[in-house]
Amino acid sequence: MIKAEQKPFEEILEYLAPYNKILLSGCGACVTVCHAGGEKDGALLASALRMARQNIGKPLEILESTPARQCEPEFALELSDTIGLVQAVLSVSCGVGVQTLTRHFPTTQIYPGVNTTFLGETVEHGVWEERCQACGNCILEKTAGVCPIARCAKQLLNGPCGGSSNGKCEIKRETDCAWQLIYDRSKSLGQLHRLTEIIPAKQWGVQSRDSGPRRIAREDLKV
């Protein structure tokens, strides 16, 4: 899912300095899973913000609400009435959720409370790692189910660079070398021969973000 991390507390306080009544809007999906901003983590942040403002003699009233998914119009619009009562919104959903709110509430100041970081897997409770870069053309079938676009620091498509050492990446010794993982898995699947096939240059300009923001329109689904 999308992973995010709460912004530094000082930064959030700075955003909220001009206000005395805001809505803290969470999201029940991705940010809940990575403990950046669902109902509970939103409540924790709200409590901390209230106390911080109390401490400097400028109380801040914070209403809390957590739609099931902030990126979905019908859920985001559930906030309409509450938004009418406040001066600004601190959204602890990912960047998508924040922008869904800005689109539907054009006259309301919406602040991002988290930094959206990556698409990732839960490795163990409390630990998340980047797995996908939404490149638009999945080649996991060619690379034994390990993505070199997301997991190789140089996005190599034809094998490890000369800095792969003991299965680790030269730029961060804790990071696994994606190509070592691809090699090991290909070996255990009996598919090492596939790694001799040359994977041609990626078409970044057509399917990826490089050709501008992407869009999917399913005519069969539109009403």
Partner: protein, 307 residues
């Protein structure tokens, strides 16, 4: 002949080739280039011009290569995929060919976080295998990547690549070089060798794959200056392994630098005997002035005069 470069002719003629490396200046001081060329001229067949090595900003390899030609030596222009997309790289190749550059080594490049502009955007539009193939396409199909846009003129390059027999996974390393061969590489320069046993194992795998018949392998050699340098490299540089015996030998020597040169000569003599090794690539980092002495003591002089 693919490019007619001096290096290519040396190989084709069956001579044992010798190249070295030159790091461009961290600015526009052409005097730095001249000083290094003066140390190397006459002792090597061609000299690699590095491309922002370790992601430290230096004069571009294309500009430096052009100066090196003016100063009377043949450059091997290195090009990394880290900083440029395919538009810029093909554009640079047009320029390189026009400037008379005939050798190119296609590399991925050290990660930008090692360098002095850590907030840069990582490009990596292509990897080294795809870059090799791109240059081959430009030379042999006379089109841009994709095979459709015709090139005005000839881009005749002798195409090189790198190999690291000391990185992991070891079993895959020779296969990766074979992939580069399939992509169109003409010659390969290896990472510097200290673990001779592992290098020989890798060469055996290369021969088993028949790669030594398709590409010219050049063994990378770097003279050690001191035991401290050996220890530092062994510990900090990913992809370089130095056997303890070698570090001990350096530590016990009366004068480290002399012992380092001695070891270097022995290594050159040893790799010459290995079937499939067609040359040495001597990387004397910040020690270019030793190249003359090393090539002389190793019996590599005079360099053949090709016409």
């Amino acid at each position: 002949m693919k490019s007619g470069s001096n290096l290519e002719k040396v190989f084709v003629n069956g001579n044992f080739a010798v190249t070295s490396e030159l790091g461009p200046p961290k600015g526009n001081d052409v005097g730095v280039i001249k000083r290094k060329v003066d140390f190397l001229r006459g002792y090597v067949d061609a000299v690699n011009i590095t491309d922002n090595q370790t992601a430290i900003v230096r004069m571009s390899s294309i500009a430096t290569s052009a100066f090196v030609i003016q100063m009377g030596m043949e450059p091997v222009m290195q090009m990394v995929t880290r900083d440029r997309n395919r538009i810029a790289m093909q554009s640079d190749l047009f320029g390189a060919a026009a400037l008379g550059i005939k050798n190119i080594v296609c590399l991925t490049g050290d990660h930008h976080t090692f360098g002095n502009q850590v907030h840069a955007k990582n490009v990596h539009d292509l990897d080294s295998v795809q870059l090799i193939n791109m240059v081959k396409t430009m030379r042999d199909e006379k089109t841009l990547m994709g095979g459709e846009e015709k090139i005005e003129g000839e881009i005749d390059m002798f195409i090189g690549g790198a190999a690291n027999p000391f990185a992991d996974p070891f079993e895959f390393r020779a296969l990766r070089t074979a992939k580069k061969a399939a992509a169109g590489v003409d010659f390969i320069q290896t990472q510097c060798i200290y673990d001779m046993v592992r290098f020989k194992e890798w060469m055996k795998m290369i021969r088993d794959l028949g790669v030594h018949e398709k590409v010219h392998i050049m063994a990378g050699i770097t003279p050690l200056k001191s035991a401290g340098m050996a220890r530092y490299m062994a510990k900090n540089v990913a992809g370089i392994t130095i056997p303890d015996a070698l570090i001990d030998r350096m530590a016990k020597a009366a004068k480290g630098s002399e012992e380092g040169i001695k070891i270097c000569i022995e290594q050159i003599q040893e790799v010459r005997e290995i079937e499939g090794v067609h040359g040495v690539h001597i990387m004397a980092i910040e020690w270019e002035q030793m190249i003359g002495r090393i090539t002389e003591m190793a019996g590599l002089l005079p360099r053949p005069q090709m016409d």
